[in-house]
Each structure stands twice: as structure tokens, then as C-alpha cells.
Assembly symmetry: C2
Homo-oligomer: 177 residues x 2
């Protein structure tokens, strides 16, 4: 029994507004403050390593994986985006099943389900069978499928009320990336 | 001219859902990853210092103030909650005007405005006159007043879709505090 986590939650941050990933990173910060073991698997985003959160995670000693980690190109028939999604999910499954983490974040994971790169029902069935009861799982991204919302314990929708691009203001480092 | 911040944004995270504060802390993590100077003034919350985010901020060397910092009881006629709000705003004004920070977070600040402990119009007038153009200001809390939303550049509403208390699950350390 994990002494730190009483009941592992499945948390989903979805919606068209800001704060889906940053909220997950805020929980990461909280959990790190408490000495939890944390892992992030980041889907979709370009792997420049120049994101503020990746710089921070490296400094904090948090395990951070992207869909390109360990990626080998095995099929010429497969779209590279889909291949990355599948590779990322393989990494995620390994980390979840390892029991080495108290909190695992699958950042921007919903897109792999929404666009059908992975099968939502199979993903949820795997999680039901394999996610440790005493670890938290946080999934972010727009358009979370209904089956994922049904499976989750805590779901928040981030709604855009006002955005600086409406004033022609560019994305700001440290805030948006 | 601050070399890091191109255009200082006023960001408001409001709504009845989770993720208002944690999203601000996620931005804090991003900004810290980029070497920004960060300050948090936390309103409302009890000052036990046992919150995961305070533990983390201490480890990271981030300046963190609560409304009790430097607080002296000056009036027997004033409600203590209001006195704390006023004291917190004095701290916030000093930190904002100091130009010592690239990112300042006023966590749970909206309550001081919504409940009328501070005058919303006066607060916004002060910010318009004194907030450095090249620093970001992040304000969190439910019920952000319309005038604050009007003043802000980026506003997100966090909506509760599903919450674990509906299943009778308690708040979890590292996740909710």
C-alpha cells in the first residue's frame, strides 16, 4: 500500500480554454512538494525541449517522456502522427504498470483518442485492469471522449472567456510555453 | 526593459471548477523553468504552510507571502477577514510596484473583491497606474467581478463537470492541497 496516496484519482482537464496542461503541472508542483514520485508523458507537442515546463522538470528531477522517446520507425505505411501516438501509449502503459510513480500525467493525450489514433475503449479497459489503485492519473487535452469522462473521477472543463490574441498579443514565453 | 517578458499579461482564472490555482502554479513552474523572478501572494487560505505548493515554493526559492505576513492587528472594529484582505493587498501592491518580479500571482484574490473587502474599481485603477508593463499578473478565484474580466487580457473559466465528492471520495494530498 502506497503510504502517500489514499485513493488514486483519474483526473481529466478538457475544454477549449487555457489551463488544461498548466493545471496538471501545478498538481505536479504540489505533488513534488510532498515528495511524490511523478512521471509525465507528453503527447502531440513538438519535442524541442525548450518548453518552460520541460526545463523545470529537468531541474526538479521529474521523469519526462515524449512520444519520440525510444521511437523507431517500423512501418512505411503508418502515418507518423499515429505512430508517435502508439509509441507514446506504449511508454505510458509501461510507466503506469511499473508502480514506480504516485502521479502520472498524460499531457494532451485526449487528441490520440478523439482522432482515433488509439481506440478509446481499449485504452480505458487497459487502465481499468492495470492502473494501480493508489496512483493518480491526470489526462489533459481538448475534446475528451464521453467514455473517458465516464471513467474519470474528476473532470474539469476549461472555457475560454477572453484571450489575448483577440487583442493581437502574441504568445508569451513562461506563460503559454 | 525586461528582457524576458515581451508584453505583461493580466490573467484571470475563475469559475466553480478545479484548476484555478493549480493552473497558476503550473505557469509558476514554467516561468521558474525559464529563470523568471516569481512572487505569490496567497489570500484566504489558512497559513499552515503544509500545502504542497508552499512546500514546493520553499524548495524552489520562490517568494511566497500570505495575508498574515507582517500582519498587525490595528483595529478592534474591523473584521479579521477584511483586515487580512487589506493587509494582503498592501503586500501585493508593494511587490507589484517593486519591479522585482516577472510574474506575480495573487491566489484566491477575487474573493476580496467579490465580497467587497476591497473596492474593485480602486484596485483596478491602482493596477492600471502601477503594474509594470513588462510583468505578468495572475489572479485566481471564483466569481471574478465583471470589471476585473474587462481589465484582464486572458480569462479562463474552470467549470466543474465531475467531482470525486459525488462518489464520496475525500480530498487527496498532493492533488487538492
Amino acid at each position: 500500500m502506497n503510504r502517500k496516496v489514499k485513493k488514486g484519482l483519474v483526473i481529466v482537464n478538457t475544454g477549449n480554454g487555457k489551463g488544461k496542461s498548466t493545471s496538471a503541472f501545478g498538481i505536479l508542483l504540489r505533488a513534488w512538494g510532498r515528495g511524490f514520485r511523478i512521471c509525465v508523458v507528453q503527447f502531440i507537442k513538438a519535442e524541442t525541449g525548450q518548453w518552460g515546463e520541460i526545463k523545470a522538470a529537468k531541474k526538479l528531477g521529474i521523469d519526462w517522456f515524449t512520444t519520440g522517446d525510444g521511437f523507431t520507425w517500423t512501418s512505411k505505411d503508418m502515418d507518423e502522427t499515429i505512430a508517435h501516438a502508439i509509441n507514446g501509449w506504449e511508454i505510458a502503459k509501461e510507466k503506469i504498470a511499473s508502480r514506480n510513480y504516485d502521479v502520472i500525467i498524460l499531457d494532451e493525450f485526449t487528441y490520440t483518442l478523439h482522432y482515433g489514433w488509439l481506440n478509446t475503449d481499449q485504452v480505458i479497459e487497459w487502465l481499468k485492469a492495470n492502473k494501480p489503485e493508489d496512483s493518480h492519473l491526470i489526462i489533459t487535452g481538448r475534446d475528451a471522449p464521453p467514455a473517458l469522462i465516464e471513467y474519470a473521477d474528476l473532470v474539469t472543463e476549461m472555457l475560454e472567456v477572453k484571450h489575448p490574441y483577440q487583442k493581437g498579443i502574441q504568445a508569451q514565453p513562461g506563460i503559454e510555453f
